[in-house]
């Protein structure tokens, strides 16, 4: 169940240019309830001069119980610090409170039968994909992460990624890993994976769908779950600002999603 809570700022690490990993203390019930693909809404508007007025959704990258006495239970978020949406998160000091709501949304379903998960992340999508990778690894699922970016400096450095996952990288400028689209890497894993999960901009899903359609092997391809991103005002299905057309009718990204079966998503 989502709940209102106060998230207390702990620390911020500049993990990438204009992106920081922000760690916030959160109640244990929130940390325990958080599932991969879910997000929290962080409010900062009215108290800070109404800008931004509305809360912003942030994917949960890690939800971690305290490791020792005196340590807080915490959430880690990957925050783009170059825009208005980050608000006070960019300058917050330890102890600063943020009104929050979460965990929200319908995340990835890691079915009990999945034993080899193929995960694909581009850009900011790495945050929820890390959450999914760690949840899968904890259950003994073998994980391969395909990570795409424009250039090497936009890839989340290895220390932030799960150590037990196989990681393959693609960059558009060829500065690291495969020179090209991350979806170019997908075909070689289609004989291997029995679950496919992605968090990327929608054009990547078009390419992913093409890669699946081009498969000529003998297997029945596994189901694919993808996350859709939209601006949100409420995060709980009330304002209908994030509604998208799907093959199953209009759906709210915040409540029915953000994760949908690829075959349900309308890509234009």
């Amino acid at each position: 169940m989502p709940q209102q809570f106060t998230a207390t700022f702990i620390e911020r690490e500049e993990a990438l240019p204009r992106n920081a990993i922000v760690r916030l203390a959160a109640p244990r019930a929130v940390v325990d309830a958080a599932a991969p693909g879910q997000f929290v809404m962080l409010h900062q508007g009215l108290a800070a001069g109404r800008d931004p007025l509305l809360p912003r959704p942030f994917s949960i990258m890690r939800a971690t119980r305290a490791r020792g006495a005196g340590e807080p239970d915490s959430l880690e978020l990957l925050v783009f610090t170059g825009g208005r949406g980050a608000g006070r998160l960019v300058e917050a000091r330890p102890g600063e409170p943020f009104a929050a709501l979460g965990p929200l949304g319908s995340g990835y379903q890691l079915g009990g039968r999945v034993s080899r998960a193929l995960l694909l992340a581009v850009g900011h999508g790495i945050a929820p994909i890390v959450a999914l990778a760690e949840a899968a690894l904890a259950r003994g699922v073998a994980v391969t992460m395909l990570v795409g970016a424009n250039s090497a400096d936009q890839l989340l450095p290895l220390p932030y990624l799960p150590t037990d996952a196989e990681i393959a990288v693609a960059t558009a400028d060829g500065s690291r890993g495969h020179h090209g689209a991350v979806t170019d890497l997908v075909p070689e894993y289609l004989e291997w994976a029995d679950g496919i999960y992605a968090y990327a901009p929608e054009p990547v899903y078009v390419a992913l769908r093409e890669a699946l359609r081009a498969y000529r092997g003998a297997r029945t391809l596994p189901p694919v779950q993808v996350a859709i991103e939209r601006g949100m005002a409420c995060g709980v299905g009330v304002c209908l600002g994030c509604v998208v057309q799907t093959k199953g009718g209009l759906k709210t990204v915040c409540r029915d999603g953000p994760v949908f079966p690829l075959e349900q998503v309308v890509l234009d």
Partner: protein, 231 residues
């Protein structure tokens, strides 16, 4: 819906008003009749900012005749208080307000959202799945206040003012423009405690001003209030 929610509302300390949206006059009347005398339902509010399928998609609330027709049909179908929520997407909001009041509305609420559009330049498509959407929040407050002011001068029924209220001062502006009550929507997304804070702040403000009731300030800034049709 009726089996599930009204019993929950009946246990709450606040009255619950159900907002109705329909495609036809008959649908509005049918829904209002279904809610009549249901425990937990204190009233209905008609969302007339939707297209009338039987009138070629013309928005109920954009035409005084259609707005009056749906109001009268609901009025006849229920004993509940009937509030009609007016759309700002019209040229003459006072004309619609008069038509709806004359057709039997117990109160008017205004404004509904302003029709807007945003384009995602990266995707080169409208941001919203429905292409257009309702603009709300502080940006619409001046428009809402102006319309409340105009309508207060045009009708005798109570007005519920809304549109961009984010605190005590905004609520006072709507009351002084002629609203007897206010609604808060968007600001609740920004601050879940907004409504209770405005209520507390309003009580404290009245006490500081030596006033005993909000009624004493309703319409005080409105030169036309009470002089019906004199705007």
């Amino acid at each position: 819906m009726i089996a599930k929610y009204p019993p929950i509302w009946a246990r709450w300390d606040v009255p619950v008003i159900v907002n109705l949206a329909g495609d036809t006059v008959g649908e509005f009347a049918e829904m209002a009749a279904m809610l009549d005398e249901v425990q937990g339902v204190a009233g209905v509010e008609l969302n007339v900012s939707c297209p009338n399928v039987e009138a070629g998609g013309m928005f109920f609330g954009c035409d005084p005749g259609l707005a009056a027709e749906v109001t009268a049909a609901v009025r006849a179908a229920t004993t509940l208080p009937v509030i009609v929520k007016l759309t700002p997407n019209v040229t003459d909001v006072a004309a619609v307000a008069r038509a709806v009041a004359d057709a039997g509305a117990d109160a008017l609420s205004l404004i509904n959202t302003l029709l807007g559009l945003a384009i995602d330049v990266r995707r080169r498509r409208p941001v919203l799945g429905n292409v257009t959407g309702g603009l709300s929040g502080p940006a619409v407050k001046p428009v809402a206040l102006r319309m409340v002011y105009q309508v207060a001068a045009a009708v005798d029924v109570p007005i519920i003012g809304l549109g961009g209220i984010t605190g005590l001062d905004d609520a006072l502006e709507f009351l002084m423009a002629g609203a007897s009550a206010v609604q808060v929507g968007t600001a609740t997304f920004a601050d879940l405690g907004m409504v209770t804070r405005i209520i507390d702040d309003l009580a404290a403000w009245l006490a500081r001003e030596g006033l005993t009731s909000v009624r004493e300030i309703v319409g005080v800034a409105n030169a036309g209030r009470g002089a019906r049709g004199a705007e």
